[in-house]
């Protein structure tokens, strides 16, 4: 293989890694949008809080003398999921539920306020500088021609793929098989009708926020370990990217969010490969604008009929 094709392969691997975490965060946007039709702008901050919780748990466990890496990672993942889900639940309960049914702009503005609030809450509690953690999982597989270009696939990347795949499968099974999943689908189709038929819609809406937050926390733990540095501002960009991914795939559609995340991740990695890497954000947003122009419903979304 030539150098270029190996290089492209490497970027593809990196793109898939980032893309799968975007997809995890995007599901939170898409599920909330599918049911109550609002953009949960504070979702990126929930992801950021997940990352912080994971870091605190990992370092805390190491300090306490727990040295088995799998145990530490599993506990960190669980703590992050619990804390982030609580945040997701609390945000919905405090900031969005009282406003439900009002004009569309109002909850969006509340969400922006919530996002700024949470960002600064963490900044005040944990400081605003970058925190760096040495890599816990190093090494990986290397292949390709050592003389031309060596493609590396780290264990961390493989773990991210595996965890993403597992969470997506679990979510798909939950949505399609379980009672609560059926109730979720019913609410997405028609909230009022579902309520009339005896589904506790408030509970289902809270559940979507919790599921979204849990997936964002998983993505947070993975990306936190992958990059190794965190600061209180990472949620904003990640949230924006994940939202782009959700729109790309068709907002309201869960498979769409997965597809959109992967496409966005790969596009970004390819842009970073051939242009200065600062422009990858520009490309991501331009992609968003283009998609909305030519296919406002996204790749897998259904057109929305406006009723009078």
């Amino acid at each position: 293989m030539t150098e270029t094709s190996l290089y492209v392969l490497q970027q593809l691997i990196n793109g898939l890694t980032i893309g799968s975490t975007y997809a995890l965060i995007a599901i939170g946007y898409t599920m909330v949008y599918g049911i109550i039709g609002m953009i949960n702008f504070a979702h990126g901050e929930v992801y950021m809080i997940g990352t912080y919780t994971a870091f605190i748990t990992i370092i805390g466990l190491f300090t306490m003398g727990v040295s088995s890496l799998p145990v530490v990672l599993l506990l960190a993942l669980m703590t992050a999921i619990i804390i982030s889900s609580t945040y997701g639940y609390a945000i919905e309960r405090v900031a969005y539920r009282p406003l439900r049914g009002g004009p569309r702009l109002i909850p969006l503005i509340t969400a922006i306020g919530m996002s700024i609030f949470l960002q600064n809450y963490i900044r005040l509690a944990q400081g605003s500088r970058d925190l760096a953690m040495p890599a816990l999982i190093s090494g990986g597989i290397e292949f390709g021609d050592p003389d031309v270009f060596e493609v590396s696939l780290s264990w961390m990347q493989l773990i991210i793929w595996g965890v993403t795949l597992a969470s997506m499968t679990a979510l798909a099974l939950f949505i399609s098989r379980s009672r609560l999943g059926r109730a979720c689908r019913a609410c997405a189709q028609d909230l009022k009708m579902a309520n009339l038929l005896g589904i506790d819609t408030n509970r289902i809406i809270a559940l979507t926020f919790v599921i979204g937050a849990a997936l964002a926390a998983i993505a947070g733990v993975m990306l936190g370990l992958y990059y190794g540095t965190i600061n209180p501002y990472i949620g904003f960009m990640a949230g924006l990217k994940a939202f782009t991914a959700a729109v790309l795939g068709g907002i309201g559609s869960i498979p769409g969010a997965m597809l959109g995340g992967l496409i966005l991740g790969i596009t970004e990695a390819m842009t970073a490969a051939f242009f200065p890497s600062e422009y990858k954000d520009v490309v991501a947003f331009s992609l968003l604008v283009l998609i909305l122009l030519f296919r406002p419903t996204g790749l897998l979304g259904k057109p929305e009929v406006e009723k009078v």
Binding site: T57, P98, F117, L124, D281, S286
Partner: protein
Amino acid sequence: MHRAIFPALFAAGVTFLLTCLVVGIRLEQEGASLTVVGADAETWGWIAFAVIGVFLVQLLQQPLQRLRQRLPTADITGLLPNEMLLHRLKPWLIALVVSGLLVWPFMVSRGAVDLATLTLIYVMLGLGLNIVVGFAGLLDLGYVAFYAVGAYTYALLSEYYGLSFWMSLPLAGLLAAVFGCLLGFPVLRLRGDYLAIVTLGFGEIIRILLNNWTSLTGGPNGIGGIDKPSLFGLEFSRRASEGSQTFHEFFDIDYSSGHKVIFLYLVAVLLVLLTIYIINRIQRMPLGRAWEALREDEIACRSLGLNPTVIKLSAFTLGASFAGFAGCFFAARQGFISPESFTFIESAIILAIVVLGGMGSQMGVICAAIAMTILPELAREFQEYRMLMFGGVMVLMMLWRPQGLLPMKRPHLELKTS
């Protein structure tokens, strides 16, 4: 009350989970290694306070509500002057406020005038965004992009072509309007919340471009040494540049750097008054009526033969042009601009001004802009908490008074009963 105990316990548990880990334990970076430190007793005290507070409020929710219903509510409508009287006094009131604005700076310190100038910039931005968000109901989260376009237009024109502030001002407005039109044309077909995100993305694109186009904009270092405005060719510097005269030489007075500050303030007052006048006029034109009608019901507007795209685009373009003017003035006042002044937070602050003041209400926007710039200056020791309170107030405001502090009043007739 025993029925409220489980929800109360649940709420207290949620509060504990929210605070225990991220507030109660702190990550500390020491060289390459990261350590955790338990927070001090005071912080844990606050956490306990929050948990118990939430528990008690939830537990006593019903008695508290009953108590609140029994409280008498004050009727303040009687305190306001008669509407007819108010109408007759209006021109005099306006004259009083304007003359006060013009005389005031000569009596206070330089810092106060400088702060007032900054406030006026925010008033202008708030009024501009009010057209887009308040009148037309289009949520624009990238408004700061047009502000940046205006600022960089003047900075670049003055650096490369030596154009003066007064020459650049209309150009900056025009260019910002062109950008508004270019962005608006494709995206205005989108529904409200999509529009918000696309404009947010656009704002980020502009900032990233300014940050990375180093050869033209100087990148993160920005552009410095931007000329200050002049009064009919009279400069406000100590020494005149070639072929021109300075203000203090012309009037034969001693040089004082205060002149420049007051002059900038007066220019800002002029621009704000002009903005208020123009927007007031447009609001009463068919175009202004169409904006509000479109905000209320797009389908009804379409069926009455209004073209939503053209109407939305006009709101977007006009709003953008005011941001362009404000940006141009901002560049002139600062003398130095960099992409750091045009981040998303700036957009959020301008949006908060519009929302807090009451969408669509000019008086409300002006008051909110004044409050948003003056309050942080007064509460300097709370500087740390400024953005936290800002986000919190935005949420609480929407929950408590979604229509804003001074909501817009429409002319209406009332049937007098009695």
